[in-house]
Amino acid sequence: MKRNSIKKLACLSLLGLLGLTACNTTTASDVYAKPDNYSDSSVSFEKDSTVVNGYKTMEEVYDAWREGNIPSNVAEKIIIEYSYSAFGKYDDLKSIAEKIKNKEDLDTVRTFINNHKVYQTSPRVEKDEFALVSGKFAAIEKRIAQRMYKLVSGGSYTEDSIFDEAEMLKSLLNDSQSVSHPKEATTYKGLVLPSVEPEEVFETQEELGGDSLLHRENYQSLTNTYIDDKITPEIYKELLNEQYLLEEAKSTIGRSRARKINVFSITARSGMEDGKAAEYLMNYLFEVLTSAPKSAIWKNHTEWLVEGGSKLDVSKVFTDFSNAWVGNVEPIKDGDGTTKYKNTVLEDILAKQAEAEDPVFKYVEETEEGKESQSYYKSTDRGLWMTDVDKIDADPKKTDTSVESEFTGNNTYTVEHGIELKERADKLKDYTSSGWYIASDGAGTLPSSISNRLFNVTVSDSKKENETDPSKPEYAPAYDRWQKVQENSGLRKSAEYEYSKDNDYGSYLARIAGNYFLRNNDLLPGSEDQDIIFKDGSTYYVVQVEEAVNSTKMGSSDTNYSSLGRTAEDIQDITNEVAKIIAAGSTYQDLAKDYWLKKMSLEYHDTVVFNYFAETYPDLFK
């Protein structure tokens, strides 16, 4: 090699080595994106037109922040800003959704969609695009409610089972959050009843005395920005993760075998009499759920019907049966006009046992004046502890000291107060659960024997979507166990509806008077009729299937959701819910972040921030 070439080689090597050592250090070439007042004094003093700057400038403060959390905050901020650019900021999106709902100023809506590609369908179908926008806003609103509900149900602002919204406001104010002052705000104080769904946290409820768990204006108004500052940005980040899924892996939604279910579950108690209670309750539940349309049960319990009365609202039925298992009583006008503290479901069951001397759910009425509300039904949660109260005796030799201690909080309050605390705790008990689940995650606390059946592919085939077009083979009512009896020239009908399991599509799901239930194929002889009741050990389950997703329904064929008559809003809701679960997994979160950061084509104007990204997201630089 010639001498010059060797020299060149040496120089290059030296430069390269220098470059290596320069890596990851702030050198003279350090680029620092400083705020305007970087070199200003934190405080300056002016007297008689003479200005004296303070001893310390903002330099020290800013340098510390830059080396501290600023780079990670930049990473957070760009995700949020990007998501705003994708979906539109909350206030804009809200305004557009309102216009769609009111069918007004649709040109503005169209301009918005044109400026936000994420809402554009291919091919472009306006009604579907409008549904995308409305669905996105609806999803945000739902999630705001769910996140706020988490604050309520977390227990931090609850004492003796009583939630106090004023305490929550105090705590948030102490944390310098922008919310109403409790002295000037309308607030709720009371039980967080399980019948109030998370999405209903801001809605007034009859069971809350016409009040709502939270008052939205305390957290989101012209002056209060807690939701805007702390809640909405997190939701936008979630939506961006899901958007990645929708753009890059939409088929995973269909393949997820997502199910939306409602579950009722109780465990039989031990002991002779109490052990039968669960069986009695489940028998009656089965009777209700399999009752014919317009049957006596439907007529006597209109509170269990959906609006319009076309079918049972299974979640309402489950809630009432849950209260029955707890043994909750409420004031009801008896036949003679007096007020008694009763439970309607248990009264129905007792009516069936009218001949029995000692019926399972025997009603024990408290007649002492002022204590009528302490009536109870045996073999319920309430009944069990009420029976315990009877063991407390004025005579110290006869009293059960451990029971007395339990009801007095170990001698810190009276028995009456102890009873009050137990009653409140009972009102919060809930033997139902509901939600969306995907096969890979399992179904909450359902045993595998049940969840394996739930996620079987046949379930989504059996869950028919077509409720409107009888000419199509996927017409749902055709598979209902209850079929209208056909007129047969002159012959008198014995009943308006006829029941048959032969109508089922497959052996996994049963459609009964408009509702779908998971079928149990593992039944004891003699109980095959009750094939929607599962028993695992001593625990009973009934599983209502509201939605069952598969790839066909999510796809583009003529048997997809849309072709089968599901509304665009429903489809959006299903897509959003399933995408949310899938995208919440850490794998997808990481993939989504990398994906979007790459899409952002980042330009760096600060060396420390650059170094942070180089170290934290090395794939960005490949």
């Binding site: 090699m1 080689l9 290059l12 090597s13 390269g16 470059g19 290596l20 070439s29 680029v31 994106a33 705020p35 305007d36 007042n37 934190s42 405080v43 003093f45 007297k47 008689d48 004296v52 303070g54 001893y55 310390k56 903002m58 020290e60 403060v61 922040w65 600023i70 930049v74 760009i78 800003e81 990007y82 650019s85 994708a86 936000h116 105090k170 104010l173 102490n174 310098s176 005796d393 004025a394 005579d395 110290p396 030799k397 007095t408 170990n410 810190t412 309050y413 009276t414 899409k599 952002m600 084509s601 980042l602 330009e603 760096y604 104007h605 600060d606 060396t607 921030v609 650059f610 180089a614």
Partner: protein
Amino acid sequence: MKKSKLSIGLVTTFIAALGLSACNTTSSAVTDGKGAIVTITGYGGEKIEIKANDLYGEYLKDPNKISSFYSTVEENLIRYTYEKTTFVSDNNSQPEEPGKVKVTLKTYNGIKSDADLAVRKAKEKAQANAKSSGTSFQTEWDKILKENNVENEEELREKYIYQYEKEEYENWYLKTNMSSLTNEYITDSSVKADAKFPYHIRHILISLSNGSSDFVKGTISEDEADTLGSVMSELIDSTKVGGSNSYLYTFAKIAREHADKGDSGSAAKGGDVGIMSTTTSFVNEFKLGIYAYDTVFNNVSTRSAETVKKVKEGLGITSEVENTLKTFGLEEVPYDAFIQIGLNKDVTTDENKDTVNDNNEAYYPRNVYYNNYLNLHRPFVITNQKLDPKTGRVSEETIKDSSRFGYVASEKLRYLTDEEGRVIIGVRSEHGIHLMIMQKSIFNDETTYTEKAKQVSLKDYYTTYTPDNKYYPTFDQDGEKKPYTTYVNYLPGLESTDLKTRASEVEGEISGFDNAYSYRIYENLLNYLSTKSVTVTFSKGIDETIDGYISTLRQKNKWDRADSLKDAWKTYLNLLELELYTHGIKFGSAMNIYDTDNVSFETSQNSRRVNTVCAVSFKKAASSKNYEKGGVCYEAK
């Protein structure tokens, strides 16, 4: 050789090239954003800049980040005031005004000298450390600089200067504002902080080993019974000290004598537990018992309705709490109950030396009297009443010499007081029986004292000076200045070190009553500069952030205090409710109750507390109808 050089060169180049591409931190990767930290391409292809002003600006508005810049701001304010204004000279040249505290400030030059001295000492320390640890001076000096978070000697000197200026200013602020701070501390809650409504309390504690959760069948030992009896005997003893007007047995003396039976710490100081404020963590029975007695049951006609209302609010006594307390009522316990406990301290068998009720200790007379009269979590006063020897109940008869019962409740009924007329309030807590006196109530009813030394205002009572100090509160008597009796000197015979300790204790209370106290200094500085027509400009509105933070902190402090009081009252009232309820439980059918002559005087159901007749009938249990099977005192195993 050539080949190996070539190889080395190629390898080096290769490595360098790899380094260049992997590192990518060439200056071209990071460009000047003209105020932007990063620029991104939005979803729709638009450019979005994240501005440095916005991001750092958000931090400046975040009250949770205030600690980052508040100390910088405070340093600027103190140093400017101290060094660039006439603050020090104005203050030092002001003539002393009567009744007003004057604090002389060190001059800036004086502080600089002190700082120079401190730097020299630090250098000497570095030298000494180097010698002892075998290192160099520079090494040790660098260590000292690092410990002080400075880079060089000059910065260390500046740090000392600021430290001394701050100390001077803080001391000046406290001393010159002591009067207004004391008022705020005592009763004048403000937007800045809640008052602490201090009580000066003394007590005699008779420790009881048995747990306090048994409301009806608690037991006390023979020794404890003896102490209860002895203490009461001395409290009611009207013997005077040889020819003088002073009682032989003062409250302090009794406390000291029985120190080993209770609270030895306070006993050594004559029962002084110190200042009890709304945030002092005493058991509820003690603290809330005093509050309940003084605000609800102690009706003193000279108190203004406005003051009573203010105090009740400050002590967390809502109308609900007050009504509940009134429902419970103030318990009146006859002094004779204590005496009988003492007299029966060792009675555990009947007159035939047989055990009674299978030796169930609940029936020992000392325990019967204890449960019926002293086992109370609610406050009680001690009356001049005797117990009926036949029934053990409160009788019409009163003690012969009622001179120690200085509070007249009604024509015949009087309450036990200390030697200076303060009502003694009793209560049972987890520690034992407390017999408490309010050495100084928040209502300052003591202005009704005849002795002028005791006619001291609350503010002067909580002076932070010792009697030898010219600022110590005094009154005129016969042309002479006499010291008031205050928290500092109320105990006669205290050494000067003790007096200083007590004065410091009060100063600590006053300077510590506001958790956000340090921000008063900040506000004071701003106020001073404003009076001197100095316009203070903060960078980027950080003053608003600081103001917001201070306001939030003050609100939080108030809420915390109110919540703490509310919770305490709730727990306490629940307990009292349970106690009353338990005491009132009756069971079984009605039966005759007999006196010691076996004459039935009452028909009643049995209760969970052992009836008092069981105490008076105990010795003759074998023949007492009360102890027969089915009788009110009969209890088989």
